[in-house]
């Protein structure tokens, strides 16, 4: 049974959550929907581990949907990078689903919770589809599946601001996706193919034409909107701040990562190196990345809503990833890919801790969190530990990715860039300190309702996430070897 299924794992990976989503609607029961979402997430995690093993031992897997040969049919391709990103998405999904029921039950009206799980599964399927597909147009379809369902997820937030945040994200997200298909259309016009490997083969002939240069521009802006690249990030802080806590934890840890993955794919697997010689892309990304890490970290200092503060910090973290891409070296890309994983576990842990705080005190304002260090010691300890990781204290994952980023900068003799990276880490200390000061050095306000520690069903997933921050910060064999392999295949795979 299992062995006959194993060649079809790439398809099952996407189809499983896609089928599970409507099944949730059929049952219309919160408990059943949660159970389905939980099982689907864990099965997906299992599949992505199996796929990663297969890729590590046998090299990239190519799967032809309906057995139509590529480049005519749609091809799914799992290589080191996509297997790694898939592992990130599924493991975050699996942990978040364990955490979810209590928090979702409190924040979303009970007649709508089964729809929440449906939408979560659709987002999940879309994100997995983006990582696995080897077809540029199919990537757009999955991008829209994941985006449309995430607009709904965001609009489920309790405050009315969630609605406007979702609509603004919808408008900008649709503009981004449409820009992306304009770019793909222009490429199709010049090459007559949509398969990524086929495109990479045919593009060099026409690489210098205006059409392709315009296509690169459209695609960069389109995906840039999705990943919250400064200055295209305006939708992100509100969307993260007003979405239900669990949604924020899931989206912050996965959605922008998958967009970065799409950018890597387009630049390195489709265009190859000539994208960087034809246009000043790497200079552009470097400058935008630097502005992002400095300005967004500064803006984060002035936020008094902790979720918003972390959202701005997410934009800054995307800046680090983009700086890694702009180096166009194996070390730089390794740093980017490492940071995909590391930032996912950091932000996952932070937002889960905040979700637990919100579950107890119904607010995530910095001043409302006063004194929580005493009343919710485990939750706040998790928050602080993940915060250290965000800042980049040694022994945590945050340190590893910054270390590689700075190594990459030294390789290129970009001393100033290395200095600025360190400066922005110090800014992270400041905004993070604000929360710690409030939680540990201030007393609970007079007359505040007595609260207790978050329930175990929240603490355990939260601490699993925090634990992985330290585990992968100390035992880096797995993440670094996977990221280096993926980076080498990206750089080496291009003509």
């Amino acid at each position: 049974m299992l062995s006959s299924l194993s060649p079809h794992l790439p398809a099952i990976q996407v189809v499983l959550p896609l089928i599970a989503a409507p099944v949730c609607v059929i049952f219309r029961s919160t408990g059943v929907a949660w159970l389905i979402a939980l099982i689907a997430s864990w099965l997906s995690l299992g599949i992505s581990i199996l796929l990663l093993e297969q890729v590590t031992s046998n090299g990239p897997i190519s799967y032809l949907l309906g057995n139509w040969p590529a480049p005519w049919g749609i091809e799914y391709k799992v290589d080191m990078l996509s297997a790694f990103v898939m592992l990130i998405v599924t493991s975050i999904g699996a942990v978040v689903m364990v955490f979810a029921p209590k928090s979702v039950h409190m924040e979303i009206p009970s007649d709508r919770t089964y729809l929440f799980y449906t939408m979560y599964l659709l987002t999940f399927a879309g994100l997995l589809g983006i990582t696995i597909t080897a077809d540029a147009f199919n990537l757009f379809v999955f991008l829209e599946i994941s985006s449309l369902s995430s607009y709904v997820l965001i609009s489920l937030g309790a405050q009315r601001n969630a609605l406007t945040a979702a609509l603004r994200y919808l408008i900008l997200g649709t503009v981004g996706a449409t820009f992306y298909i304009i770019g793909v259309g222009l490429m199709y016009q010049m090459t007559g193919t949509l398969n990524i490997a086929d495109l990479a083969e045919r593009l060099p002939e026409v690489a210098e034409t205006k059409t392709i240069l315009v296509a690169i521009g459209f695609i960069t802006i389109g995906i840039g909107l999705k990943l919250g690249l400064f200055p295209l990030h305006v939708w992100l802080p509100n969307a993260y701040a007003y979405a239900p806590s669990v949604v924020t934890a899931f989206l912050a840890a996965t959605a922008t990562k998958v967009a970065v993955y799409a950018l890597l794919r387009v630049y390195f697997s489709i265009f190859g190196m000539n994208v960087f010689s034809a246009l000043p892309i790497s200079e552009l990304l470097l400058v935008l990345g630097l502005i992002a890490i400095l300005s967004m970290s500064t803006v984060a200092i002035y936020q008094n809503n902790t979720k918003r503060l972390l959202a701005y910090s997410s934009v800054a973290q995307v800046g680090y990833m983009v700086i890694g891409i702009s180096m166009v070296t194996v070390t730089g890309l390794t740093a980017t890919i490492l940071h995909l994983f590391n930032h996912a576990v950091i932000k996952g842990a932070l937002f889960l801790a905040l979700a637990a705080v919100f579950y107890r005190i119904k607010s995530v304002k910095v001043e409302d969190m006063a004194g929580l260090g005493k009343t919710m010691p485990f939750t706040m300890a998790a928050f602080v530990a993940a915060g250290f990781s965000l800042i980049g204290v040694p022994l945590t994952v945050g340190f590893i990715s910054k270390w590689y980023l700075i190594l990459g900068a030294f390789e290129k003799d970009w001393w100033l860039v290395a200095v600025l990276i360190i400066v922005s880490s110090l800014l992270a200390v400041i905004y993070f300190w604000k929360v710690i000061e409030s939680a540990y050095f201030k007393a609970r306000p007079e007359g505040a309702v007595g609260i207790s520690e978050a329930p175990l069903s929240m603490l355990i997933p939260m601490w699993v996430m925090v634990g992985s921050n330290f585990y992968f910060g100390i035992n880096t064999n797995f993440t670094i070897s996977a990221a280096t392999k993926a980076a080498k295949s990206l750089i080496g795979g291009s003509p």
Binding site: F137, F140, V141, E144, L148, Y151, V152, S155, R160, N161, L163, T164, A166, L167, L170, I171, T174, V175, A177, T178, I181, I182, G185, Y188, Q189, L194
Partner: protein, 103 residues
């Protein structure tokens, strides 16, 4: 293409923004369709009489994109209905004003 995009940016009325978004998307669909035209080509029907036909693939792609566009419009309009319930207006500047008063 650009007129649709301009409406999205310039208009404060949320419904008009969605309409602009639609114009923008549909023009991209047309861009794809124009690509598929072959000089003197007939409709792509499998028939002995037809030797020279247009490329059907972009048509199929756009069929998918139309579905996505419909879903986006539906979701956008649904959100606008909810926004009107919550704010009593669908003008962007009035919503921003109310949000500022909230905080």
């Amino acid at each position: 293409m650009m007129s649709g995009f301009y409406v999205v940016i310039s208009h404060g009325n949320l419904v008009k923004k969605i309409v602009g978004l639609n114009v923008f998307q549909v023009s991209v669909f047309v861009l794809y369709i124009t690509m598929s035209k072959v000089d003197g080509g007939a409709a792509p029907i499998l028939d002995d009489a037809i030797k020279n036909y247009s490329n059907p693939l972009p048509h199929v792609l756009i069929l998918t994109a139309i579905v996505v566009g419909v879903a986006t419009t539906a979701l956008g309009l649904a959100l606008i209905v909810r926004i009107r319930d919550a704010y009593g207006t669908i003008e962007d500047d009035e919503i921003v004003k109310q949000e500022r008063d909230d905080t």
